[in-house]
Amino acid sequence: MEFLAYFGDVFTPINFGLLLIGTIGGLILGATPGLSPTMAVALLIPFTFRLEPAQGLILLGAAYTSTVAGGAVSAILLKIPGAPANIATTLDGHTMAQKGQGARALQLSFLASAVGGVFGVLLLIFLTPVLAQWALAFGPSHLFWLAILGVTVIGSLDSSSVVKGLLSGCIGLWLATIGFDDIMGAQRFIFHSSVSGGINVIPALIGLFAIPQVITMFAKGRKSLDAEVLTVERHPIKDAFREVFSRTRALTIGTLSGSIIGLIPGVGGQIAGLVAYDQSKKMSSESEKFGTGHSEGVIAAESANNAMVGPSLVPLLTLSIPGSPTAAVLLGGLLIHGIFPGSDLFDNYPDVAWTFINSMLVGQILMCIFGLYVAGLAAKVAQVPNAVMAAVVLGLAVFGSYSVQNSMGDVYVMMALGTGMYFLERFGFSAAPLVLGLILGPIAEANFIQGSMIANATSSVGQYFFTGALNLTLITIVVASIAYSAWMELRSRRYTTKDDAIEKEEALS
């Protein structure tokens, strides 16, 4: 119950103010189609440089939580999911809005999001300290395999092609080796002065997530958003409360499936929403009503995509392995303050860790309260033309990258990586494993070198890296995730992936 000791820290004027800004801003950003939670958090990182670590994390955590929930606003009122995580919400939410039940759909969506989100954060609160202590038993070989696991799991599960997902991971791992070698001081792959100090993670993240989105907006040309914002009629919040808690089956399925999916690195919110929707439909006594504006569809989808948020941070905060692209961006936010997640975070910076986690708990409640009030404004913002959004995001990306180290080199790297990523994505490559490779590369290399030195002094490299229960378990998971994804791909009955979700989103919009 250590988290209770730091609960009051969330309510200091600055911390609470940042939580409010992050929540309200996140709701508005989340409602904007094309601004994914990962991209929103990446663009916000430069604004956290001057803040204390806990304050920066509060802002980023609040933005993460509320962008996921905010995406429901445009899904319900415009039939355009704010993020792939909200695709399942569109199926019933928009139909409800068309029937004049937009307010009810929004209320159910935010209440279900808050229930799922609170459960997810509680899971984060109770799982992280236990796993963080367990992580102390990890040696260099285990940490090496964990880093490889982070890249391969996301590479194989998050992409539509296993080979291209793993190849993206390899590109990320290679990018991480650019610069000076830590041990020998040797120059590696320095083909331009901009990368002489290596590739800075923050500009790289901004480029990889923001620039492809800017170019995607360019690709749409001079197209206006034809979607009409449906008007919202008043609906008593008491009734929505009653309805959410009377639909316990959908709420439980959404919350549990979202939490479990969140714990699996690389799977993510878009899949959580779709799985929860599908399972609720199968188990419901009113399954024929799904897709016709049924409240269970909205409750299941929204509770799932917010329940996923807390657990998706468990691997990051305990093992330093970001389980999702957004967690990778949050890791970047921690690293700029010199804080490394894992047991070190809970032992040396418990105030930072617990204030951040507690703020996410409070943020869920604030997100629910403000969500209902800013939904109308958020829907208006969602109609901002692509041209404006593209230019704003480009400007923020350039200024944000420059402000990391006041270096034009970072801006050049950001733009080059982002432009390259857009074209790679068009050919089936994925940004998530590349980002994970870039972030986990130094961890993998440092532990590989350290492990090799230990192995040379004690046993052989093969014996050190390939024996022991923990090594073998991690290797088995690496192999199993690749084998499972390859098998599913061969059978063409692959599990719903991010690409599928994006395709569905594009089809809907």
Partner: protein
């Protein structure tokens, strides 16, 4: 799969394979060898996967990725050129605020669906651009105290 995406897939995977082979070549030929131990490990996997992807593209077995159609390319081209000029030349030479204002206005003019023949829509674009400049200046110059290159004007 039509011929255009197949050719595009061959070019894209060929470029990735070329990068992979270059990385592997540098990793295995540069000294000191100890500094390139990890790059050698990953570049080997990189080359194998890249050649696999290239082989599939050549044989026309690529199933993932739709490539780029001509219309999308034509839509992207002007915006991308403006963005690249902004980042790689104008931001440094003209100063961040001047360059980003010009870029913002040009992008808005290129991609805004509003008519180019109406004075009202041009006034709107100028007002939005001015608003953007004010927000960026307030955020980065005043709030975050980021000292960006300010060559001409400010």
């Amino acid at each position: 799969m039509t011929d255009l995406p197949r050719t595009q897939h061959i070019i894209a995977s060929g470029l990735v394979a070329a990068v992979g082979i270059t990385v592997a070549y540098v990793s295995y030929t540069q000294e000191p060898a100890a500094a390139f131990l990890f790059p050698r490990l990953i570049s080997t996997v990189f080359v194998v996967l890249a050649l696999w992807t290239f082989g599939k593209a050549v044989l026309g077995h690529t199933k993932v990725g739709n490539g780029l159609d001509r219309r999308s390319m034509m839509n992207i081209l002007p915006g991308l050129i403006v963005a690249l000029i902004f980042v790689y030349w104008a931001a440094k030479q003209l100063g961040f605020y001047t360059a980003s204002t010009a870029t913002f206005f040009i992008l808005l003019s290129l991609y805004d669906p509003a008519s180019h023949n109406e004075v009202k829509s041009w006034i709107k674009r100028v007002i939005i651009t001015a608003g953007f400049l004010a927000v960026m200046y307030g955020l980065f110059a005043k709030l975050l105290n980021v000292f960006t290159p300010r060559e001409i004007f400010f």
